[in-house]
């Protein structure tokens, strides 16, 4: 992150700023599982000296190891995307009872608007559910400062602290002033079963302490410097937090604002004081009416209708119209434009595999990863996508309900399989299913920007480590039919899948092809269409490769195609599928 440094002021993303804040606060341990928009937090911390930073197989494990580090006295940061906290919610709620020794800060990066997510849940509810304090920074400087404050709060009140950010905080770059690291020596693990062994007898006592803690935190919130009133025009007062604060300032710079940095528990007295000093009171927040419903429960009247849970992210324009601000007259966007959705890259092994599945016309139970893009035309080979690891369980359920396993496959990426795919595979074996599972092994976590995971054999900082063998895992849980194939060989792959579908036992096919983006510099060949041999069938257009362009003149029956040499990654899938042998290799020298 040094590249953007100019003197003492730097431009950091919210994610990078959290990493810096943790570093300055003496963090010793950091764990995470990659997920947009949280990934860059751990990527930045890996570069910090004096910190053990690791990718864990999933968010639940990341939080459990983080809790261990905290109980051993180390200041600990655990980061994940919003849906990751669902996975980690089991340890989260009980960690609230156990508390901490070294400060434990858990970052949840929510994604209003779903730029790269399967839902847009509002994770502020987790603070309420787990009964832990929550901080919400509005920009990168606050992301850094609040991270340090969260460690203090965690230790002062013996509680994990939730640091909640959204995409626009995580991925906006704003100016940050850096400070120096303060070291905190881990105290070591202290044996104290009444605090750390959550059997009912202990947990009942700890729950009492949790309730006392939350009352103390509510008192603390009244005077906490993270909450502040900005009194100006008293005719309008807005309670807000996070990035919404800046949308309010943009729309109504003169409005009075109660800016909440500590958004759970809420400072009731402060809110009442603010409400009493303004004429019209508004609450501006993204997604669910989390603050609003609590403010209304205090019996305070708002100047607007009760908000239903909202979908989509806020913008300065939406906030301006909500607050009745006068705005510049805007122009409608240009009409009739073709959309430009993201697509699988030229040479992507996923496309090759999905092409084989398309030819087999099977039901595809999909998962979370780049391959989910296969739902788009022309491939359209994805029938379900729910959450990390769901592909195998859903496929198994369909099989049990229909009594057929010859027309359904579960498709899951390598890292997703390690994250949550092993237990459902055990379910298939245990309950005598014969589901066919295809692990799309591209040897990286591609969608979030190429992170390492246990089956790549590299750690978060790129060092060689024990490599998890996917083949051995599958055999180890009792799958006898395990095979490995290069998906570029489409016909061979197709045959292998067809045979697996017929078998009355569980099968795993590992389609192994390294992510093409990792080896972009090493592409040595491309393909071209020989016009005189082309029969114009359009087969090569059926798998949606961006390098193959439809040049058919209007009204012509026979397709005319061109392969764009600069885009072609030389996978040869189109050449293998061309029935006329009209696609031939050219070397990409020089």
């Amino acid at each position: 992150m040094s590249k953007k440094t100019i003197d003492y002021l730097v431009l950091l993303s919210g994610d990078e700023a959290i990493a810096w804040g943790a570093f300055e606060a003496g963090v010793r341990f950091a764990s995470a599982y990659p997920g947009t928009p949280s990934t860059e937090i751990l990527e930045a911390i890996v570069e910090c000296p004096g910190v053990h930073a690791q990718w864990s197989p999933n968010e639940k494990v990341a939080l459990e190891v983080g809790l261990g580090a905290s109980l051993a006295g180390a200041r600990t940061l655990v980061s994940m995307k919003h849906v990751g906290l669902n996975v980690a919610s089991d340890p989260l709620v009980t960690a609230s009872y156990v508390g901490v020794r070294g400060g434990l800060v858990i970052v949840t990066a929510d994604d209003p608007g779903m730029f790269s997510s399967q839902n847009e849940q509002d994770n502020r509810h987790y603070a309420q559910l787990a009964k832990i304090p929550m901080l919400e920074p509005s920009d990168s400087q606050e992301a850094k400062d609040f991270t340090a404050a969260a460690f203090e709060l965690s230790e002062q009140f013996d509680t994990p602290v939730l640091l909640r950010i959204t995409t626009r905080v995580a991925h906006s770059n704003t100016v940050v002033e850096l400070g120096n690291r303060v070291e905190y020596e881990p105290s070591g693990f202290v044996c104290e079963p009444a605090k750390t062994v959550m059997v009912p007898g202990h947990a009942r006592r700890r729950h009492e302490l949790v309730e006392i803690r939350m009352r103390e935190l509510a008192t603390y919130a009244e005077s906490c410097s993270l909450n502040r009133m900005e009194m100006s025009d008293l005719r309008i007062g807005v309670i807000t937090s996070g990035v919404s604060y800046y949308y309010v300032k943009e729309a109504r710079p003169r409005a009075s604002v109660l800016k909440l940095g500590l958004t759970y528990p809420l400072p009731e007295r402060l809110i009442r004081e603010f409400a009493a000093s303004v004429e019209k009171l508004y609450v501006v927040e993204e997604l669910d009416p989390f603050l609003e419903s609590q403010v209304r429960a205090m019996g305070l009247a708002l100047a607007h209708e009760p908000a239903p849970p909202k979908n989509g992210e806020l913008t300065p324009d939406l906030v301006a119209s909500f607050l009745g601000a006068r705005r510049r007259r805007t122009r409608p966007p240009a009409s009739g434009l073709p959309p430009r959705p993201p697509v699988l890259c030229p040479g992507c092994g996923h496309r090759a595999l999905l092409t084989a599945l398309k030819r087999l016309k099977v039901f595809v139970s999909g998962d979370i990863g780049c391959y989910t893009l296969g739902v788009q035309p022309p491939l359209r080979t994805m029938d379900t996508c729910i959450c990390m690891g769901a592909s195998i369980g859903v496929a198994h359920g369909v099989e049990k309900a229909t009594g057929r396993s010859d027309n359904i496959v579960g498709v899951i990426g390598d890292s997703t399989f390690v994250h949550s795919g092993i237990t459902p595979l055990i379910d298939v074996v245990y309950n005598k299913g014969s589901t066919t599972v295809i692990i799309l092994d591209n040897e990286t976590v591609a969608m979030t920007g190429h992170q390492e995971h246990p089956a790549t054999g590299k750690t978060a900082n790129g060092k060689t480590t024990n490599r998890l063998s996917l083949e051995d895992v599958c055999r180890g849980v009792g799958v006898r039919d395990v095979s490995v194939v290069d998906p570029y060989e489409v016909k061979k792959t197709q045959k292998l899948i067809a045979e697996a579908l017929e078998r009355q036992e569980p099968s795993v096919i590992i389609a192994r092809r390294r992510c093409v983006l990792l080896d972009r510099g090493r592409i040595r060949r491309s393909y071209q269409v020989e016009a005189d041999r082309c029969v114009g069938c359009g087969q090569c257009l059926s798998h949606g490769c961006p390098a193959i362009v439809d040049r058919t003149p209007k009204g012509a029956r026979k397709k005319r195609v061109e392969i764009v040499g600069e885009l072609c990654a030389g996978c040869g899938v189109c050449a293998e599928l061309c029935p006329a042998g009209a696609i031939t290799e050219v070397s990409k020298s020089g």
């Binding site: 953007k4 943009e250 705005r327 122009r331 430009r340 959705p341 780049c370 961006p546």
Partner: protein, 198 residues
């Protein structure tokens, strides 16, 4: 500078939009401005439409530029320019790469790549600078430096001295790429004010 300068960079994933945003914001940082820059990561990078927004000035609030407040729209592709053209102020400046790149997939029923795209762009602004940036970048030594050519053109419309731009390039690029990018920046800078008919 009392008010904010709002720059939007639009293009297709892989064209160096995020890097262009880094370079522009680094140059503004040298000038001591408050800066906010936002961009969308993740799935959008896979050949999809990408946009990065930079705002700088004495004090910046929202990281998102309000509708109709874009001072300068930098576009690495013409369809993406048109997609964001309405976000410009009526007197906004468009600096666009003269490149027509059809979306990789066309879902059934989706419109075709628009014809007379340049005329449609000019209906949004009289200040359109359309440059063959890839060709100029190639002349500089690497066609992939088209983003730097456009930054060169942009530099003619912003009150930031040339040295700050050079520092920003040095801060954001690998040393081996600097020479090509300095040249690309210069070639773009020369074309920055010419409102050519293309």
């Amino acid at each position: 500078m009392g008010r904010a300068t709002n720059i939007s960079i639009a293009g297709v994933g892989g064209q160096g939009i995020i890097l262009a945003g880094d370079i522009i914001s680094s140059a503004a940082l040298v000038m001591g401005y408050d800066i906010k820059k936002n961009e969308v990561h993740g799935m959008a990078q896979r050949g999809g439409a990408v946009v990065s927004e930079i705002r700088f000035g004495k004090r910046i609030y929202s990281p998102l530029i309000p509708d109709g407040e874009v001072d300068i729209l930098v576009a690495l592709e013409l369809l993406e320019a048109l997609r964001h053209a309405h976000r410009m102020k009526p007197d906004g400046i468009l600096i666009a790469n003269e490149l027509r790149l059809a979306p990789a997939v066309r879902p059934p029923g989706a419109p075709e790549y628009p014809v007379n795209i340049v005329d449609r762009l000019r209906s949004f602004t009289k200040n359109a600078v359309i440059i063959p940036a890839a060709r100029l970048a190639e002349k500089a030594g690497n066609a992939r430096a088209a983003n730097t050519v456009l930054i060169g053109a942009l530099s003619r419309h912003i009150d930031i001295p040339k040295q700050a731009w050079k520092n920003a390039l040095e801060a954001c690029l690998r040393p081996s790429l600097l020479e090509v990018n300095f040249t690309a920046f210069e070639l773009g800078r020369r074309r920055g004010k010419r409102r050519n008919r293309s």
